[in-house]
């Protein structure tokens, strides 16, 4: 499956830009598996993953969620708006 990984806030610096294509085996996987896949594909992001939330579209998902081919994945580090 092919996902669009979008990095937000300081993660754009760590990962080199907003958008990254992710090609992964299978048609679906759990969010926990996706986190591991992101760490493998982008090692500099790995230390930031424990505090980064993951969104599919405009919904934050927990590790037992599922991602599917075509999903837009947002990786959201700790927030600092206001």
């Amino acid at each position: 499956m092919r996902l669009r990984l979008c990095l937000y806030g300081g993660l754009q610096r760590v990962g080199g830009g907003r958008e990254h294509a992710l090609e992964l085996p299978g048609e679906t996987m759990s969010v926990a598996e996706l986190r591991a896949a992101i760490a493998r594909a982008h090692p500099p992001l790995a230390p930031h993953l424990p505090t980064a939330a993951l969104a599919i579209g405009d919904t934050i998902v927990t590790d037992d969620g599922q991602v599917r081919d075509g999903d837009e994945i947002g990786l959201l580090p700790p927030v600092s708006g206001g």
């Binding site: 505090t51 980064a52 969104a55 405009d58 999903d71 700790p78 927030v79 600092s80 708006g81 206001g82």
Partner: protein, 152 residues
């Protein structure tokens, strides 16, 4: 997958017109209006700030702000709560966020306004990059959106 909503009700590129929010919430059932505005400060942690860039996840931020507005109306006896946040680069003194609350009585309006801005800062998928006089910039440490990582 992402629902197409008009995010500009909550997230805006240009200056936020307070007048519009006041007009929108105008209500003769209310006696108290509390407005909170966050403005760009020229000093933070001892460093001279020149401007701030806000990075935003617009659809998720719009939903977070809409949900927070609804939550405020449920938790507090207030009749209106509107939240707006800017995205992009802001100069010193500019307003990055408005919280507009109207209630029958002022005590509740103050409490609800305080709650709304505190929660917005904790929950909204918005990231502040401060630019300094020395040419450097920095993303501020923030609040994790992952459960169990709310260290505030």
């Amino acid at each position: 997958m992402t629902e197409q909503v008009d995010t500009t009700r909550w997230i805006q590129q240009g200056p936020l017109p307070l007048e519009a929010l006041l007009a929108e919430t105008d209500d003769p059932e209310c006696g108290g209006l509390v407005v909170f505005g966050g403005t760009i400060r020229k000093e933070n942690h001892g460093k001279r700030v020149t401007r701030i860039r806000y990075d935003v996840h617009p659809p998720l931020a719009a939903r977070t702000l809409a949900d927070l507005e609804a939550e405020v109306l449920e938790r507090f006896p207030v009749r209106h709560c509107r939240l707006q946040h800017r995205v992009g680069t802001l100069e010193l003194g500019e307003c990055s966020v408005w919280v507009v609350v109207r209630a029958k009585h002022r005590a509740e309006a103050f409490e609800a306004s305080r709650y709304a801005i505190d929660q917005l800062k904790r929950r909204a998928p918005i990231w502040k990059e401060e630019f300094y006089e020395d040419g450097t910039s920095e993303f501020l440490k923030g609040c994790s959106l992952v459960d169990g990582h709310h260290e505030h």
